[in-house]
């Protein structure tokens, strides 16, 4: 069998060693006589798998102690709704920066729960750039500012973190999560669908600052309530146990590669040489403006 190089935007490739380990452990996990996917999520085996996965995320990203790490379900698109449900905290408005199709979807979902101010958008140039920070029309009384550090469809990627002051910054990091070191303390929420850099589709990682949770909209279903999920170790209902297990193997693999500094190095090299090949030829063209500019 030979493995393909799959350039899909997601579900994407998983490390081959992770697939082989999962294959070897599938029918009989660590001599338990059962597969992880057959085990109770309340049993000590799975509880240890989930706890280790959370600790590894904390280690890899340097998550401060005043942040919750949640493993939820439904993908990043579910978070488009659950974010306003959870962190409006009595406010009625939120700011959105739209640099692509996903940010636009996040806006249309959030509009069901609050007044959305699109503080900046690059739709007029077909989502090929980031509007200059000085032009952003931010509200000081916004509950949060939402943006998409990497848009997977148009390909616009931030290489800088917006400095927006006291208003919590919320980032859809589905494409970039765990691909390089970040300073979690600059964010109110970091969230990501798993199917690009973490593991099987369906699993969703949410990292949220403590002081933002606990005052949900009354309509919020319990499974979408960050505070209830945090209280229940992300097990308000049965979690996607096998997906959490695979993600855990990926986290171990990332640590073995040398962590996010090492991954960032490799990823920068990969992007650099591919953009150089495109830009060095008249035969190919890249529609994104200054994709690697550090801004």
């Amino acid at each position: 069998m030979s493995r393909l190089y799959n350039f899909s935007a997601g579900p994407a490739m998983l490390p081959e060693t992770v697939l082989h380990q999962a294959q070897a452990e599938m029918p009989d996990w660590h001599g338990s006589g059962a597969s992880i996917m057959e085990m109770s999520h309340r049993g000590k085996e799975f509880v240890s798998v989930a706890a280790e996965a959370e600790q590894d995320v904390r280690d890899l990203l340097g998550v401060p102690v005043n942040y919750k790490v949640l493993f939820l379900q439904g993908g990043a698109s579910t978070q488009f709704a659950t974010i306003p449900m959870n962190i409006l905290r009595g406010k009625s408005k939120a700011d959105y920066i739209v640099t692509g199709a996903w940010g636009k979807k996040a806006v249309s979902e959030a509009k069901k729960y609050c007044a959305v101010n699109v503080a900046a958008s690059s739709e007029s140039d077909n989502f090929t750039s980031i509007p200059a920070f000085e032009s952003w029309a931010l509200n000081q009384d916004a509950a949060y500012v939402h943006y998409t550090p990497n848009e997977t469809i148009g390909g616009v990627e931030f290489h800088w973190v917006p400095k927006i002051g006291e208003v919590p910054l919320v980032a859809d990091c589905s494409s970039t999560i765990l691909s390089r070191p970040i300073d979690v303390s600059l964010y109110g929420i970091i969230y990501a669908g798993a199917q690009k850099n973490i593991g099987p589709a369906g699993l969703t990682l949410v990292i949220v600052r403590d002081d933002l949770i606990g005052s949900v909209l009354p309509i919020t279903p319990s499974v979408y309530d960050y505070a209830k999920q945090a209280e229940a170790d992300s097990m308000v209902n049965t979690p996607p146990t096998y997906a959490v297990y695979i993600a855990g193997l990926v986290f171990k693999w990332l640590k073995a590669q040398g962590g996010l500094a090492a991954m960032g190095e490799v990823n920068r090299r990969k992007a650099g040489k591919l953009y150089a090949a495109i830009d060095g030829s008249d035969f190919y063209r890249n529609p994104v403006k200054n994709p690697l500019a550090l801004g």
């Binding site: 393909l4 998983l14 691909s179």
Partner: protein, 65 residues
């Protein structure tokens, strides 16, 4: 992490995608809303995969330009 690119001559898109797939480089078609190509190069894409794509692109250009 997502590198979109287009061929100067979009008539060659189909040939490019077919040739890439044959070379073991799959799912390079751009999102249906924007067209062209897109190479997503997340963590688990080995550097060797990116090298293979660059080699294929150069070879395709040589054959078709």
């Amino acid at each position: 992490m997502n590198v979109p690119f287009v061929l100067a001559n979009p008539d060659l898109d189909k040939d490019f995608l077919a040739g890439a797939t044959e070379a073991g480089l799959t799912t390079l078609e751009g999102h249906r809303s924007v067209g062209g190509m897109r190479a997503s190069i997340y963590n688990a894409m080995p550097e060797a995969g990116v090298d293979a794509l660059i080699d294929f692109m150069a070879d395709f250009e040589k054959r078709k330009a």
